[in-house]
Amino acid sequence: MTPVIDSILTVMLIILALMVLLCLIKAIIGPRVGDRLVCVNMMGTLVIVIICILAIKMKEGYLVDISIIYAMISFLAVVIFCKVYMGAFLQKKAESEKKEDEANGND
């Protein structure tokens, strides 16, 4: 690991950190739930690449284990969130349809 490569990796880490910041800003702005989820998913990917570059830069192989765990947790978050949100949305829709049916039936 020459010092040149080391400094190049440092610059890359800084650029990636700025990208994570931009993603966070977009996740705060994002008007819909889907926008936020896409941004959060992408932040997970960026953080995984950051951890992998750190593992190579510091020559600590065990950091890669952490990135496996991070990938798993971010995937799990997206899965659970999507399922719960879809369930709640469909329940609301079914209830409003039921109310409309009742209103129509009374007329």
Partner: protein, 122 residues
């Protein structure tokens, strides 16, 4: 041996820069596109490509040892999970967005049953 090492490291840095470029495209796409499925397309496709490039770059930089095998494992894992989460987000979006038919041509009549997988089950 020295020259091979040198070439490997330069190639690794080049691959990492390409991955960085794809990430920049992703950020631009997320900010520029108005419709969510476009954003999701950019983010999801970019994820897999950038991870592929970054994996090759990092493995070339580290050389062949236990760390590189683990790195390959991470990226294979991400190739499974990233498209799956993109699929889930797209399903959620098509289900919850009422104006989705203004943007794309939805070819399924009953979206709920399609997202539920009931159509594939019969």
């Amino acid at each position: 041996m020295e020259t091979i090492n040198m070439i490997c490291q330069i190639a690794g840095i080049v691959f990492l820069f390409l991955a960085m470029l794809v990430f920049v495209f992703q950020i631009v796409g997320i900010f520029r596109y108005k419709f969510l499925l476009n954003k999701m397309h950019v983010a999801g496709m970019g994820d897999t490509l950038a991870l592929f490039l970054a994996a090759i770059g990092l493995i070339l930089l580290s050389g062949f040892n236990m760390t590189s095998v683990k790195l390959a494992l991470v990226f294979v894992f991400m190739w499974f999970t990233s498209p799956t989460s993109s699929h889930l987000i797209a399903g959620m979006e098509v289900l919850t967005d009422k104006t989705v038919k203004n943007h794309v041509d939805v070819q399924v009549d009953n979206v709920e049953a399609f997202v539920d997988g009931r159509e594939g089950r019969k």
